[in-house]
Symmetry: C2
Subunit: 352 residues, 2 copies
C-alpha cells in the first residue's frame, strides 16, 4: 500500500482530534467546546448571509472581519490575518516562519498538533521538558533555536505563563519567531497582543472556537506586525485564496460585535471552573491551576484510564492521552454547572 | 524586509484571484461564478444549521456529506474526500502525490494556480505547450514524469478533453498520479469519475463553486480509489482536522440533494453560453469551443486589453492575463441572458 503517496507523506503520523460522537447522548467534556450557544448576533448574521450572494466568492482578504478584529484587539487591520480555524493558522505559521535547518522548541507536554505540523513541513524540533508541576522553564527557551511555540494557557495543563516570562523569551530570541497560541487566553491568562508593537518576532494566534462558542464555524486569527502578516498572506495566497466562506465571515463578525455576551458567558465558565476545581480537590484530585476552560486532573489512587472508561460508561466524555508524563491525567472541559455536577457525582462514585 | 520569513516563502509568487469588488455595481463576468442563486434546499439547510450546535466542532470526517456525494457520483464514501474549496483540495493533492525529484507536467495555458502550488511545495514542473488551437497534445503527456495535472474542461480556454484521451494519459503513466481538475465539467465535458474503479492512479477534483452556485461556501471534492483518498486524509489530518464548518457541510448536502435545480440552472447556462458564442462570432470574435461556463474570446482587430478597459468603463468585469500566448484573449463568464446581452452591446460598440 501507500503506492503513489509522496515520500514526505508516507512517514507522517496525523493528529488525532477528540471524538465527535454523531449522536448527542453524551455529556461532552472532551474537546473544550463552550457549553453556551454562540451569540445571537452571530447566528442572525449567518442567517442573513444564507442567501443569493453565496453564489459569489467571498472576500479573499477578509477585509471587514479583519477591521472588526483589529478594533477588538486595539491593532491595525494590517496586523490581523484570518484563517480557517486556528489549526490552519498555526500550520501556515509553521510554513511561513520556520526553516528545516533550524531547530524549533516547544514544551514536551503541550498541544499535540505542533509535532505533527513540524513533520508535515519537514522541520526539526526539540521538546523542552516542563517542570514537575508542568510549568514552563523559561531559561530553556533562551537556547539558540529557529523558533519557539508556546500555548498560553498551555494545553492540556491549563497553566498560564506570565507576560513577563513571554517578554523574556521574546527578548532572548531576537532572531527567531515566537509563536504564542492563545486559544484559551480569554479564560484567565494575560494576552501577549499588547506586546505586538514592541516585538517584531511575536505572533499571537487566537480562535473563536472556545470563548466565542464557534468551534463549528472554523475561524482563527494571527496577530503580529505587518511584516509577519505579509508572510502569512504570501503562504495563504499560494495555497487557498478564499479560506473563509461567506457564512463564517458573517458569523465571526457578529460574534465580535457582541462583547457583552462574550463577557457574560466567559465569566460563567470561569466561575464554574473554579467551583468544580474546588469540589474535585475534596475528592482527592490533584487539579492543575487552570487559566483555561478545562481542568487537568489526576487522582493518586484511581488510574486515569479507569476513570476515563468509567465516565464514558456513565455517559461523560473526557480526554486522555496514552503519553509519558500525563498518562495518569484527564483533561476535562468546563461545561455548564449541571454538567459539572454530573461529572462530580460520577467521579465521586469512581474514586470511592 | 522579509526578516523572519522562511526561505521557501521568500521566493514565492502567490496566485492572484480575480477581483471581488466590495460594491455590487458591476456586471461580474470575471470569476466564473454562477449567475443563479444557490438551490433553495442549500439555503434552508444552512439557515437550519445556524443554531446552538455551532458551538461544537464539525464532523472532522465529513461523513454525511461524503455519503451524499458518493451517492451522487456512484462511488463509495471511502472514495470521496472533502476540502475547503477545490483550491485546498488541489493543494493537498500536490502534497500527497508529488515528489520534488520527479517532474510534474501540466499545460502551458491552464489554471494559473498549478505552478503556484508546485512552488509552495518545492516541486519541479514542465509546462507542456498546448497546440495552436489550445488543444491538449496527448502524446506529450506520455513522457516519463512524476505526475500530470489537467483541467478538464481547461481554464481559461474552456476546451474539453475526451475520456478517450484521458484514458491514454492514465495508461501511459501507470507509475504517476493523473490529477483531473473538473471544476467546470458539469457544463458539457465528460467526467472521468466513471474511470476511477479502473485506474488506481486517477484523482478527479470537483467543486460546488460553479455548477452548484456556491462559490461563497468553499466546498471541493477529490474522488479516487481508497488508497489515494487515504493519502489525502493523511495530509489533511496533519494540517487541519476540521476544514469544513458546520454551515458548509449543511449547505453542500442541501445542494447535492437538489438535482433538479442543478440540471435546470446548468442547462440555462449552457443555452446562454451557446447563444452568446454565436452572437460574438457575428462581431468577428474568435470564440474557443467551450464546454464550461465561460467563453475564451479574441478579436483580430481589437486588442484584448483595450476591450477589458472599455468593458470596465461600461460596468462589466471580465478576466485578462498579461501572459504569453493569451495576451489577446479575454475570459468571459456566462451570466444571465440579460447580462450577456449587455456584454454583447458593449463589445459591439467597442469593436466597431
Amino acid at each position: 500500500m501507500k503506492e503513489f503517496w509522496s515520500s514526505r507523506i508516507r512517514g507522517l503520523t496525523p493528529y488525532t482530534p477528540g471524538e465527535q460522537p454523531r449522536e448527542r447522548k453524551f455529556i461532552k467534556l472532551n474537546t473544550n467546546e463552550n457549553p453556551y450557544p454562540p451569540s445571537p448576533m452571530a447566528l442572525s448574521a449567518i442567517r442573513a448571509a444564507a442567501d443569493e450572494p453565496l453564489r459569489l466568492y467571498p472576500d479573499p482578504d477578509c477585509t471587514q472581519l479583519r477591521e472588526v478584529m483589529a478594533a477588538t484587539c486595539g491593532l491595525k487591520p494590517s496586523q490581523v490575518f484570518v484563517g480557517n480555524g486556528s489549526d490552519e493558522v498555526l500550520a501556515l505559521c509553521f510554513q511561513a516562519f520556520f526553516d528545516p535547518d533550524r531547530i524549533l522548541l516547544f514544551p514536551d507536554v503541550t498541544y499535540s498538533f505542533y509535532p505533527v505540523f513540524a513533520a508535515l513541513y519537514g522541520l526539526q524540533y526539540r521538546q523542552v521538558p516542563l517542570d514537575e508541576g508542568f510549568g514552563v522553564p523559561v531559561e530553556s527557551f533562551l537556547a539558540p533555536n529557529g523558533g519557539v511555540v508556546l500555548a498560553n494557557p498551555n494545553a492540556p495543563t491549563g497553566r498560564a505563563l506570565s507576560l513577563c516570562a513571554i517578554r523574556r523569551i521574546l527578548e532572548g530570541n531576537p532572531g527567531a519567531v515566537v509563536l504564542v497560541d492563545e486559544a484559551y487566553v480569554d479564560f484567565g491568562a494575560e494576552s501577549a497582543v499588547e506586546l505586538i508593537d514592541r516585538y517584531p518576532n511575536l505572533v499571537v494566534v487566537q480562535t473563536l472556537s472556545k470563548s466565542r462558542s464557534l468551534a463549528g464555524l472554523r475561524v482563527g486569527f494571527a496577530l503580529a506586525q505587518e511584516n509577519l502578516i505579509a508572510a502569512l498572506n504570501c503562504v495563504k495566497n499560494s495555497f487557498n485564496s478564499y479560506p473563509l466562506d461567506r457564512l463564517a465571515l458573517a458569523g465571526a463578525e457578529g460574534a465580535l460585535r457582541d462583547p457583552d455576551y462574550f463577557r457574560t458567558t466567559t465569566a460563567q465558565i470561569i466561575a464554574t471552573r473554579d467551583r468544580t476545581a474546588a469540589r474535585l480537590k475534596t475528592l482527592g484530585f490533584d487539579v492543575c491551576e487552570s487559566a483555561s476552560n478545562f481542568l487537568f486532573i489526576a487522582h493518586p489512587k484511581a488510574p486515569a484510564k479507569v476513570l476515563l472508561d468509567g465516565l464514558r460508561e456513565r455517559g461523560i466524555l473526557v480526554r486522555w492521552w496514552d503519553q509519558p508524563r500525563i498518562r495518569n491525567h484527564l483533561r476535562v472541559s468546563v461545561g455548564t454547572q449541571t454538567e459539572m455536577d454530573a461529572l462530580y457525582d460520577a467521579l465521586s462514585e469512581l474514586v470511592r
